[in-house]
């Protein structure tokens, strides 16, 4: 895939990337920056994408890695902004949508990212492990614990 093809394909993947970025960062502005940076990084490394069919997982991997680089920067105090934006979600009532978002907020960032990438964006456990730079066993454990915590948080509602 060359840069032109990537540019066209990226347009189709951008909504998934942005939704995943919002779910991971819980910050709409940071999420937009993240998607943009992901595109930049993807263009720089487009020659590394061997299988165009795995474009989405490749982009999500780049994005997840960049997200944690950004989070490290945020933790150093450069800027830290929060806030929940109420987003109307098709198929789920707004209150429940916010409940899920709040439940996600209660998870540690990497656990949240694992949940988002695996249960929402559809990456396999090995792909999530690669994206988050953790072992597959760690990811399985985080997914198990993460789901349990989400369940508890949602039950509390």
């Amino acid at each position: 895939m060359d840069a032109v093809a990537l540019g066209a394909a990226f347009e189709g993947e951008a909504p998934v990337l942005l939704a995943a970025a919002r779910a991971i960062t819980l910050d709409p502005v940071e999420a937009e920056d993240l998607v943009q940076t992901t595109f930049e990084l993807a263009l720089r490394n487009v020659h590394q994408l061997r299988d165009p069919g795995s474009l989405r997982s490749w982009l999500l991997t780049i994005q997840a890695r960049e997200a944690f680089r950004v989070m490290r920067r945020l933790r150093r105090g450069l800027r830290l902004r929060g806030g929940v934006v109420e987003v109307p979600v098709a198929g789920i009532a707004p209150a429940e949508s916010l409940a899920i978002r709040d439940a996600l907020r209660g998870l540690p960032p990497r656990m949240r990212a694992a949940i988002v990438l695996h249960h929402m964006a559809g990456l396999t456990v090995p792909q999530v492990a690669r994206a988050l730079d953790r072992s597959e066993n760690t990811i399985r454990s985080q997914l198990r614990v993460g789901l349990q915590r989400l369940r508890e948080a949602l039950d509390d509602d």
Binding site: A3, A14, I92, A95, H119, M120, D157
Partner: protein
């Protein structure tokens, strides 16, 4: 809800998450569909006779270019660089300006031997060091070396009255890594040399013997001061900008934006992003960004005509093309961030404005930048 949640078993919750995420994707799609259009329309123009299509999301262009330069066949094509494609197509082969007969720079050709801000990275076969974390460290002894940076006259009151005048660490001007004064700007001892503000390359040394004349408490600072031996290069056709000079642009913006700082796009020690490809949109060497969320991009062109050429040639859908040696290149003119591009004379500034039209502060900043760029 509690009843419903109580049966969130192993299968049910993941299913809920998938449904929730599908809604998020749908919302993202709507947002992305909406934001580029808004970005393309939120354009402010300043000055007379400026025409051209909307230029939204130039940031994306820069990002694309930053990426393109690293693609195989683009950044390492082996072709001879030809300088900026803006208005000096043959400038790469021309000797640089020599503003002072006592200045002895070797002709610096093209952009191959330049830092991202246009300052040569090689003069007379000798590397030019920069005050950047990634650059080579400065020698710690009294060895002569070349240093590049932005010579600035600072306004701050600085008191080092007891220092020896030859190496006064409080003296004006200073050498900054950007065209805006920074707290870590280097003290330089120019002696009798007089220089205008601007990008320079100087031959300097540290640990000048005269440092022993400084009082004990200032002696370390005097030793650290860069004692200038010769001026090796000053502003030339690659780095020069007008009618609003780069330093003046930055000072005007700094007066408007709290906490304004500057960083080049990409690594500061990378070569400029301008290249020789047919998709080159003609971004200037003086392309900067700022941390924070107020100003995303500052483009300072060599001249108004150069800025207009870029302005006029952008299309709403972007540029795609093929280089003579077959590599494709592409640029998008829409981005996922919402910016208002303010244009004045030879300058373009992308002010960040939220998707919903912006906060009062953001809109005020657009107005203030517009005004700041309307003056020559």
């Amino acid at each position: 809800m509690t009843d419903r949640r109580s049966d969130l078993d192993e299968r049910r919750l993941p299913q809920e998450l998938v449904t929730w995420f599908a809604g998020e994707v749908h919302q993202a799609e709507l947002d992305l569909r909406r934001s580029p259009l808004r970005g393309a329309r939120t354009r402010t123009r300043v000055g007379r006779g400026i025409a051209g299509p909307a230029l939204a999301g130039f940031l994306m262009v820069i990002l694309v270019l930053a990426g393109m330069s690293r693609l195989p066949g683009l950044g390492d094509s082996g072709l001879e660089p030809t300088g900026t494609a803006i208005d000096t197509p043959s400038s790469g082969q021309e000797p640089m300006d020599r503003p002072d007969p006592t200045v002895f720079p070797e002709p610096t050709t093209g952009l191959a031997d330049r830092y991202r801000d246009g300052i040569p990275s090689l003069v007379d076969g000798q590397p030019v060091l920069r005050q950047e974390p990634l650059s080579h460290p400065f020698p710690v002894d009294d060895t002569s070396f070349l240093v590049g940076g932005w010579l600035l006259h600072v306004e701050a009151v600085r008191l080092c009255l007891e220092a020896t005048p030859a190496l006064d660490p409080c003296a004006n001007p200073v050498l900054s890594r950007t065209p805006l004064e920074r707290p870590d700007a280097l003290s330089i001892a120019l002696g009798t040399i007089r220089l205008e503000e601007g990008p320079v390359v100087l031959r300097v040394h540290r640990n000048d013997p005269r440092a022993t004349d400084c009082p004990a408490d200032l002696r370390p600072a005097c030793r650290d001061a860069l004692a200038v031996e010769a001026v090796m290069w000053t502003d030339d056709e690659v780095s020069r900008t007008g009618p609003i000079g780069t330093i003046h642009v930055m000072r005007r913006l700094a007066s408007l934006v709290p906490g304004f700082e500057l960083t080049p796009i990409g690594s500061p020690i990378d070569p400029p992003m301008a290249g020789d490809n047919p998709c080159d949109p003609g971004y200037p060497v003086q392309t900067w960004t700022t941390p924070g969320l107020r100003v995303a991009q500052i483009l300072v062109f060599p001249a108004v005509a150069a800025r207009e050429a870029v302005d006029d040639n952008f299309t709403a859908s972007g540029w795609f093309g093929t280089r003579p040696y077959g590599t494709t290149c592409g640029f998008m003119t829409d981005s996922f961030s919402s910016h208002v591009w303010v244009t004045g004379h030879n300058v373009m500034v992308a002010v960040v404005v939220d998707f919903d039209g912006g906060t009062p502060e953001q809109r005020a900043l657009v107005d203030n930048v517009t005004e700041a760029l309307s003056e020559p």
